[in-house]
Amino acid sequence: MSDVADRVKKIVVEHLGVEADKVVENANFIDDLGADSLDTVELVMAFEEEFNVEIPDDAAETIVTVGDAVRFLEKNAA
């Protein structure tokens, strides 16, 4: 796993209180990890803080799995 993936995973584990081994690339935040819609907003805010990047609303809506987040941040984070 890349450095970005590790950091994303850590945030997801901390925020959603899920087992680390469940946070796999194709895990859907809502369907697989038990997040509610407010959790997904908070995850995006946490990613913004951790990676010092702004995630616009239209991009945030496309981030529905762990892999989506990793790919977006690898591409856009400094």
């Binding site: 407010l38 907003v41 908070e42």
Partner: protein, 245 residues
């Protein structure tokens, strides 16, 4: 009870009769307060009478950019924001059939849309901190209607609906959103009433008098306190009994 020491509050319309009372009451309970309004001199005067733990941020809530800048400015000044009081409001009364679009638009913009934008901005960091209090100042006419106030009544009824929707969304994060709905309160807004209007109004108030700004402020203090943690999405009517729900 109702100790607000260490809490950080933003009050819009702080130069108004009710807004000034709210700012004073929150401050007296120990909160740091950011006063916002359009009249700089009046804001500074209130700030100097309060002394410490006070900041001033001028804002014109009819202007989108000014609204968007307000919460970040208050958060920067106080290093956080725990309590948002959307108090600022304007009236532009006219008979419905004569009401101009701009009279409608201005009242909706200041009373409702600005409250939406300020709440949207404030709730973000409240979510992070897992704590927050938003108190929207409505009006009895938001529930009863009032001739000549189609725009004002709509804006205040809108606040009640917005309060409930946002309250439901953020309740799990220990953020409460409530509304205080004043009846007729002694303020510049009611000073313009003539004697006949005043008498007519008093006849509809079982308590037989207008309310005082302090009587609204104490309700805001309650809803802003940790003691009111289980109260959310509610509208607290403070009106001397003129309308009961």
């Amino acid at each position: 009870m109702f100790d607000l020491t260490g809490r950080k509050a933003l009050v819009t319309g702080a130069t108004g009769g009710i807004g000034g009372s709210i700012a004073r009451a929150l401050h007296a309970r120990g909160a740091t307060v950011t006063l916002s309004g359009t009249r700089r001199a009046a804001l500074d005067e209130l700030a100097s009478s309060l002394g410490e733990r006070v900041h001033v941020v001028e804002a014109n809530l009819a202007d989108k950019d000014s609204v968007e800048a307000l919460v970040p400015a208050a958060e920067a000044a106080m290093e956080g924001l725990d309590i948002l009081v959307n108090n600022a409001g304007v009236t532009k009364d006219n008979l419905f059939m004569r009401m101009k679009d701009e009279e409608w638009d201005t009242v909706i913009a200041v009373n409702l849309t600005a409250s939406f934008r300020l709440s949207r901005a404030a709730v973000k960091n409240m979510m992070r901190r897992r704590y927050g209090r938003i108190v929207n100042i409505g009006s009895v006419v938001g529930s009863t209607g009032n001739p000549g106030q189609g725009n004002y009544a709509a804006s205040k009824a809108g606040l009640i609906g917005m309060t409930k929707a946002l309250a439901a969304e953020v309740a799990s994060r220990n953020i409460t959103v409530n509304c205080v709905a004043p009846g007729f309160i002694e303020s510049p807004m009611t000073d313009v009433l003539n004697e006949k209007q005043r008498e007519g109004i008093l006849g509809t108030i079982p308590m037989g008098r207008l309310g005082q700004g302090e009587e609204i402020a104490s309700s805001v203090v309650y809803l802003a306190s940790t003691e009111a943690a289980y109260v959310t999405g509610q509208t607290l009517h403070v009106n001397g009994g003129m309308a009961m729900f």
